[in-house]
């Protein structure tokens, strides 16, 4: 029997992998993939917790919303990365430090 705990463990593993990718990868695309992984971990949580609301299935509905929004943000993020690449000729976040004081 697959319990809620199993889902949450998978989600946590996904979150951790995503977090790791965000912090350590040298490529903006990979970071974006990491973000997607974290997002998916969250969506997985929503779906898993959706079992407690069987009437309205609000968990599933939020998950759908989140997937749609994730797709949208990914598109925006890719556009930004594209622009960044045009400007700096790189997408390595280490080299883009204009946010510094």
């Amino acid at each position: 029997m697959i319990t809620l705990t199993d889902f949450l463990v998978v989600s946590a593993v996904l979150f951790c992998i995503g977090l790791y990718m965000i912090v350590s990868k040298r490529n903006a695309i990979q970071i974006l993939i990491g973000i997607e992984l974290i997002l998916n971990a969250a969506i997985l949580n929503l779906v898993a917790f959706g079992k407690y609301d069987k009437v309205n299935n609000s968990g599933q509905i939020f998950a759908l919303f989140a997937i749609v929004l994730a797709a949208a943000t990914t598109a925006v993020a890719l556009a930004i990365i594209l622009n960044v690449y045009r400007r700096y000729k790189t997408i390595d976040p280490n080299d883009i430090n204009k946010l510094r004081d």
């Binding site: 965000i22 912090v23 970071i31 976040p93 280490n94 883009i96 430090n97 946010l99 510094r100 004081d101």
Partner: protein, 684 residues
């Protein structure tokens, strides 16, 4: 009423007699520098003074005293009066000064005629006459002091008249400073009298029943009608007056200025440093005579006697014509002081009067001789001292009139009969013996020394006369080809000489040439209780003195006037002592002048090093304290602040490192912090 009017008239005459020379001095002061009128203005003024003085003298002598005063100023509750006191003493001096000054003025018109500062000379001379005449008539001790110092001042001006000569200016400085010592004494005495009696009035103080006469010294206190102070101050006052007398009348130990004062013009020496000013000390003694107690008078006698003797021994060996006469003056003044000391008040003043005439005469003679020697020196361009008697000799043929009057003056100085000097000097000697008669043996030394001195006097006077006027002209021996055209000079030289020479003879003073007691001057001055003693001395002394004097005269003639004469050895101790004037000047230089100057330097050193040093030390110490506090400010107070800011800065820098601009880094930090929070949450 008539008496009163008479007094007023006499007072007016007196004031005019005193003021005329001052007026002359003021006029001369304003005249252009080389104006020859100056001489006649001064002479005219002194002539008028002389006539007025004679009138005053006739009115007051042996008549009633005239005393008038006017309020001068008030200080606190003390009223200081200025006034005129005419009694026998002052009118005698008034007449004497003006009579002596007149021939000297006439003489000066010729003597100074080639000088560039002719009118300045007469300005000074008139100013001196004014001060001297005023000195003898004033009635207040303050005024007396004032004119006392003014005569010293005019003497200063005249000694240094040729101020480009170094010797002259050193002499006038010396004269003024030594006189200042005396002035300080007089001032102290006046102040003591003022503190004791609250008045400066000579009449109130020294009159027959005056304040002094009513005072006694009792139990170490000097008790007067107006109060009492310790008796010590009576002695100090008398000592002060003695200092004043010693300075002005050139007594030991303050006599050394007088020989140096001979640097002034000779006419000045004749008037000031022989006849009048130097006699002021004796006059002062006469004024304050009641102050002195028996012991103090004895001290006076000892000093006078010693001075007379010492000066006579010095005069023996000097070669400077004027210096010999100067020492002779000191010696004769010593006689006067001695006379005062032995109570021969009248004789002392009598001698003052006669001495004034013959010493003035001798100086004028010296002036002529020096003047002629100067002529010879200038004409022949010789390098000699015109005052040195060893160059002179045989001048009696060249200067006949001068020679005759010089002999008269010299005889009067020696005190041979028929001269005025005989009358006054033998009077002193006789009374000195009378005085010692009542005293123990040691006091006999005083009259005996006086007797000895009078023979020494004979010796040096004779030496002077014989060396100058007898024998051959010594300068001619060493310089055979010099031209000599010298003579007695114009009437301005001759008239004063004759006038004074006449005054040196006995008839002016006494009809009896052999007894001083019959001189009118003596009678007018002697105190009421003077007893004519008939001791053996009255006949004995004159004979001894004069007979021995004659022997001395002959001896001197034999030594100096004859050719191939005997010469004294010039190496003995006594000779050197005499020639170097008893080394007194050297002693003063070494033991007084130098230490005083040294003390001055020491004071200045203290000022620079100690007092200023302390001030500088303070300045430096505060400077160091300032530096210290500046250091503390920089390193401690500021240092703490700097520490604080540095800490903040470090923290800031530390925090800054997180702001790398790398998004991943930020995220990582957030992660760490969140994890830390969790850990903390769990731990706490």
């Amino acid at each position: 009423m008539e008496d009163f009017l008479h007094s007023i008239q006499i007072l007016n005459y007196t004031v005019a007699a005193v003021a005329l020379p001052l007026l002359a001095a003021l006029i001369n002061f304003c005249l252009p520098a080389k104006s020859k009128a100056a001489g006649w203005i001064s002479t005219g003024a002194i002539l008028l003074s002389c006539i007025l003085s004679a009138k005053v003298f006739a009115g007051v002598w042996n008549n009633h005293e005239v005393h008038a005063q006017h309020l001068w100023f008030t200080i606190g509750k003390t009223e200081v009066f200025a006034g005129v006191l005419l009694n026998n003493l002052s009118v005698l001096m008034l007449l004497l000064v003006s009579v002596i000054a007149l021939p000297v003025h006439i003489y000066s018109t010729a003597y100074m005629k080639n000088d560039d500062r002719y009118n300045r000379y007469f300005t000074y001379l008139s100013f001196f006459c004014f001060s001297m005449l005023a000195l003898v008539v004033v009635d207040s001790l303050v005024l007396f002091y004032a004119f006392w110092e003014l005569v010293g001042f005019s003497s200063y001006l005249l000694i240094g008249f040729w101020f480009t000569r170094d010797k002259a200016v050193q002499a006038n400085k010396k004269a003024f400073i030594m006189n200042r010592v005396g002035d300080i004494g007089l001032l102290t005495a006046i102040i003591i009298l003022f503190a004791q009696y609250h008045t400066f009035d000579i009449v109130q103080l020294f009159a027959e029943k005056g304040l002094i006469a009513q005072s006694i010294i009792n139990n170490g206190l000097w008790v007067g009608p107006t109060g009492q102070i310790p008796a010590l101050w009576q002695y100090v006052a008398c000592g002060g007056i003695f200092l004043a007398v010693a300075a002005k009348s050139a007594q030991f130990p303050l006599h050394t200025w007088l020989p140096d004062a001979m640097e002034g013009p000779t006419s000045v020496s004749a008037l000031i440093h022989a006849a009048t000013m130097v006699a002021a000390g004796v006059f002062l003694l006469g004024r304050v005579y009641p102050m002195f107690t028996e012991t103090e008078l004895t001290v006076l006698a000892v000093i006078g006697c010693f001075t007379a003797f010492m000066a006579a021994t010095i005069a023996l060996t000097q070669n400077d014509l004027k210096r010999i006469l100067a020492y002779s003056t000191i010696s004769q003044l010593g006689f006067m002081i001695l006379a005062m000391g032995v109570g021969a008040y009248a004789s002392s003043l009598f001698h003052l009067a006669t001495h004034a005439f013959f010493k003035c005469l001798l100086f004028l003679v010296a002036g002529i001789v020096i003047h002629q020697m100067q002529h010879i020196k200038d004409d022949n361009e010789l390098d000699i001292d015109p005052q040195d008697i060893s160059h002179m000799g045989g001048l009696r043929k060249k200067l006949p009139l001068t020679f005759i009057v010089a002999i008269i003056g010299a005889l009067a100085l020696v005190g041979l009969p028929l001269t005025s000097g005989y009358l006054s000097k033998d009077g002193i000697l006789i009374q000195a013996f009378d005085w010692s008669e009542n005293r123990s043996g040691w006091f006999k030394i005083i009259p005996i020394m006086a007797l000895l001195t009078s023979w020494l006097t004979t010796f040096y006077v004779a030496r002077l006369i014989f060396k100058v006027f007898f024998g051959e002209f010594r300068l001619l021996k060493s310089n055979p080809d010099i031209k000599l055209h010298i003579n007695d000079g114009s009437w301005q030289y001759k008239l004063p000489l004759v006038l004074l020479a006449v005054c040196c003879l006995f008839p002016l003073f006494s009809l009896n040439p052999f007894s001083f007691e019959h001189a009118w001057l003596f009678k007018g001055l002697k105190s009421a209780n003077f007893v004519e003693s008939e001791s053996i001395y009255h006949t004995f002394i004159p004979i001894v003195v004069n007979v021995l004097s004659l022997f001395v005269l002959y001896a001197v003639y034999a030594i100096y006037a004859r050719p191939n004469s005997f010469a004294f050895p010039q190496s003995g101790f006594l000779y050197r002592l005499s020639y170097n004037q008893w080394y007194i000047d050297d002693i003063y230089k070494r033991f007084i002048v130098k230490p005083v100057l040294r003390l001055g330097s020491v004071c200045f050193w203290i000022d620079r090093r100690v007092i200023d040093g302390f001030v500088h030390l303070l300045a430096h110490v505060s400077g160091y304290i300032a530096k210290l506090s500046a250091w503390a400010d920089q390193h401690i107070v500021d240092g703490f602040l700097h520490l604080l800011t540095r800490i903040v800065q470090r923290i800031g820098n530390f925090a800054r490192k997180f702001q790398s601009g790398k998004v991943q880094y930020y995220l990582f930090s957030m992660l760490v912090i969140v994890l830390l929070l969790f850990v903390l949450k769990i731990l706490i």
